[in-house]
């Protein structure tokens, strides 16, 4: 066997009160795609950051046989390790092109050559099969596009090691396929690729080997072809997974229930064309569509996150004029954004404060929640969603990605909404927890809560929804009941295959 390009031995990383990694060994060979697997909080991102010099680990790291210790991600980058971190960390106010080439812009007479930058970026994006305007401002794009730009940035440089921490968490099947094509090309050129994903199908499709972590410890290193899914899951969880039994397709008899929300001709220029939509109490309505189809935009209009410029909303039998999220919240609507970092987390504040923020805001500042009430709420939801570590005073930024997502979900659950709009609520959540959340959605619906559910993963949308609304090119094109993935896919693709 060839020499490993990355060889980490006995890596330990400790944060105050948390042993994130304990004596983990990890090897990455040239020309392989290596999946790093584990539950939320297992230490995957931490291992990556230990390698790239974000964290200072104890232990030994060899790169191409030489011992290294990076003092920051810049040095790792210079040594040929290109990384896309779990949370997109690009500059939202710069253009796509500038972000891709940041720090290595083409220069002319010592100054950055804007036109050449755009041209180079355009070439790159085209090579990746992405139709993104390189001159557009990054922050104007949805999180999935930002994720693609981050990937483009990482593969824009020559590298021997490419690290992708949950790059596919908000991508559609099409983009994933494109990404895998690029990954295979790079792998065949001898690049070592480290890949993290909670989608088992993807892991089995792309990876050659995998390393499994559990609670900060190494479970083992396996060849993908030799490890069954069941064995993988029990390696990750340390037990058999019972919740994973497929949630039966949900269809409650909801027709006789009252219409909770009725949108008539609701729309916003440039975001989504006017549409009609009815959501009944206790019903789960899934929104399906490709990236950029307008599914997120539609959801945002229902919550007043963006203002509609046409149409009317009726909620609970009364007209509802949304000037912003506050009216929506006081009417009983909750909204979990797909963009966890920019639109969800209040990073410096504690888990407790993040969890009660929406409830407190709706009460106004003059009616603070008592410490007792807060503690009770936090305790209840931390247990219910199995948020780890269960320490409410920890700043939420220190939680692993999946656990952060659970706190944000809890933020809305405590407000006891009548309608919950969930945009990619299972983004970055591990297999076990994903099943838990899907179950939770079903339970909420059974209690009479209406849910609008978006996910890039079609199977998931179809599984949890009573009804699926399909969007294409920013327009609502179909409404399907008791449907299956193939039918939804056909409508998404443009009705060509449908008949």
């Amino acid at each position: 066997m060839t020499e490993p390009v990355v060889d980490m031995r006995g890596i330990s990383v400790e944060f105050p009160g948390v042993k994130a990694l304990q004596g983990v060994d990890f090897r990455l060979f040239p020309g392989e795609v290596h999946a790093l697997m584990g539950e939320n909080g297992a230490g995957k991102s931490t291992l990556i950051k230990a390698l790239t010099g974000v964290h200072k680990p104890t232990g030994l790291i060899r790169l191409r046989g030489e011992e290294v210790s990076f003092h920051g991600p810049g040095q790792a980058q210079d040594a040929g390790i290109s990384t896309v971190y779990q949370e997109v960390n690009l500059c939202g106010n710069l253009t796509v092109a500038e972000n891709i080439l940041l720090g290595r812009e083409p220069r002319r007479f010592g100054r950055i050559d804007g036109r050449a930058t755009r041209r180079r970026a355009a070439e790159l994006l085209e090579r990746m099969g992405l139709a993104i305007d390189p001159g557009s401002v990054l922050a104007d794009h949805p999180i999935a596009v930002q994720q693609l730009v981050a990937i483009a940035r990482a593969v824009a440089v020559e590298c021997q090691v490419l690290i992708l921490d949950e790059p596919t968490s908000s991508l559609d099947a099409g983009e994933v396929a494109e990404l895998f094509r690029i990954m295979r090309v790079l792998r065949d050129e001898g690049v070592a690729i480290l890949f993290v994903s909670h989608f088992l199908e993807q892991v089995y499709e792309i990876s050659d080997r995998m390393t499994v972590l559990r609670n900060g410890r190494l479970v083992g290193e396996y060849r993908t072809a030799e490890l069954s899914r069941l064995d993988l899951v029990s390696a990750m969880l340390g037990r058999e997974l019972s919740v994973l039994e497929e949630l039966e397709q949900q269809t409650h008899p909801v027709d006789e229930r009252a219409v909770l929300l009725r949108a008539t001709g609701l729309g916003r220029k440039g975001a989504v064309e006017p549409f009609d939509l009815e959501v009944r109490a206790g019903e789960v309505v899934g929104l399906a569509g490709l990236l950029g189809s307008g599914r997120t935009e539609l959801a945002r209009l229902l919550f007043g996150a963006d203002k509609a410029d046409s149409g009317t909303l009726e909620f609970d039998g009364k007209p509802l004029h949304l000037r912003g999220p506050r009216q929506a919240i006081s009417a009983g609507i909750g909204f979990c954004s797909e963009d966890r970092k920019a639109e969800g987390l209040v990073a410096d504040l504690s888990v407790r404060d993040n969890l009660v923020l929406a409830l407190q805001a709706s009460r106004g500042w003059t009616r603070p929640l008592s410490k007792r009430t807060k503690d009770e709420l936090v305790e209840k939801y931390v247990a219910m969603l199995d948020i780890r570590p269960a320490t409410p005073d920890t700043p939420i930024r220190n939680l692993s990605g999946g656990n952060q997502q659970k706190v944000l979900l809890a933020r809305w659950l405590v407000t006891k909404p009548k309608l919950l709009v969930l945009d990619e609520p299972t983004r970055g959540i591990d297999v076990g927890a994903k099943a838990q959340i899907q179950k939770l959605v079903a339970e909420l619906a059974a209690e009479g809560v209406a849910v609008v559910f978006i996910s890039a993963e079609l199977e998931e949308v179809v599984r949890v929804s009573d009804r699926v609304v399909v969007l294409r090119d920013r327009r609502k094109v179909a409404e399907l009941r008791g449907t299956d993935v193939d039918e939804v896919m056909a409508h998404i693709a443009g009705g060509r295959a449908a008949a």
Binding site: D25, E221, E226, S330, A347, L349, L357, A358, T366, P368
Partner: protein, 339 residues
């Protein structure tokens, strides 16, 4: 928490320096029912800075900054003194009270103006408050006609120079400190201010009324500056539109920063601001009592501030924390590839 220790350390160091230079530094005497002493002087002279720094803390916590507080000090001083001086009964208590009320009312309007620019028109705070910073002194000059206005009113004088055992100025600033502490901790205001400062968009989507909150902190900052203006001018029974509150915004911002509140917004510390204000004022006083020429005062201040802030920077702190690496040989273990 860590950052507070640095501010506290700086303060203690300065106090020790003072005791070395003037052994009687901590002695306090009682005279005519009033307490006197260097420490009391520091507290008294630092009261306006502390007041303004309190307002500034909340503004900074929302990711803002208020450069106009110095100008507001001048306006508050000018308006009150002008009113008292031109009134029919310039010595009476009611004149003083009405004058102060008018002046604080005006400060409220000025705060609303700043808040309007920042919260509604979404102008960057540094630019928005620069408007009033430059225009404000002009307004004060207009009010006073470019003259130094002196007044002779006992009621007014007591705000800055009066005593109730301790100088009134100290009591006022401590009362405001207590008020802010209660208002932010016993209500949800503190949480909401921090949330807006850390992530405005996430806060908006969680239903936080960020506009109202931002507006409120600018109004509060202007009111604090107004009260500070009354203290400063009443202490000398005069309004000097040119010099009242000059550069005090810098002292206030420094006090906040030394106290460990980041200019990037978010988490703030009132205790830190109190310490920061004390550090700044002790420094100023030390420089005077040590007989250092006033021209050098600013340089001296700058040095201390730079040192404190350097010690607070994450990079420098990391240097202190770096532990020697543990030997790693014994944790090596043979790789096993399951198959």
């Amino acid at each position: 928490m860590n950052r507070l220790w640095w501010a506290l350390g700086a303060l203690v160091a300065l106090l020790v320096l003072n005791v070395v230079v003037t052994p009687s530094f901590f002695s306090i005497r009682m005279q005519d029912g009033h307490l006197y002493g260097s420490v009391i002087d520091i507290l008294k002279n630092g009261a306006p800075t502390l007041l303004i720094a309190l307002g500034m803390t909340l503004v900074i916590a929302t990711r803002g900054i208020d450069l106009s507080v110095g100008a507001v000090v001048a306006i508050a001083a000018a308006v009150t003194c002008e009113y008292i001086a031109t009134s029919s009964d310039p010595g009476s208590a009611s004149t003083a009270l009405v004058g102060m009320a008018i002046s604080l009312g005006l400060c409220l309007v000025l705060g609303l103006w700043n808040g309007f620019l920042v919260a509604v028109l979404r102008i960057q705070p540094i630019v928005a408050t620069l408007v009033l910073m430059t225009a404000g002194r002009g307004i004060a000059m207009l009010v006073t006609d470019g003259q130094i206005i002196t007044v002779n009113n006992e009621t007014y004088r007591s705000v800055g120079a009066g005593f109730v055992l301790l100088p009134l100025a100290i009591l006022i600033s401590v009362a405001v400190l207590a008020l802010v502490a209660v208002a932010t901790r016993k209500t949800a205001l503190g949480l909401l201010i921090e949330a807006v400062g850390v992530n405005p968009e996430a806060s908006r989507l969680a239903g936080v009324q960020s506009r109202t909150i931002i507006w409120t902190v600018y109004v509060f900052a202007a009111l604090c500056a107004g009260v500070a203006g009354l203290m400063i001018s009443s202490n000398v029974s005069a309004a000097d539109a040119n010099n009242a509150g000059l550069w005090i915004e810098m002292d206030a911002i420094l006090a906040v920063v030394i106290g460990g509140t980041s200019l990037a917004g978010g988490r703030y510390s009132l205790t830190g601001t109190l310490l920061g204000a004390l550090v700044i004022q002790t420094l100023t006083t030390t420089v005077y009592t040590a007989g250092i020429a006033p021209e050098i005062t600013l340089v001296f201040k700058a040095v201390v501030v730079v040192v404190v802030i350097l010690f607070q920077s994450p990079k420098v702190q990391a240097l202190f924390r770096r532990r020697p690496k543990r030997p790693v040989a014994e944790v090596l273990k043979p790789q096993e590839v399951a198959s």
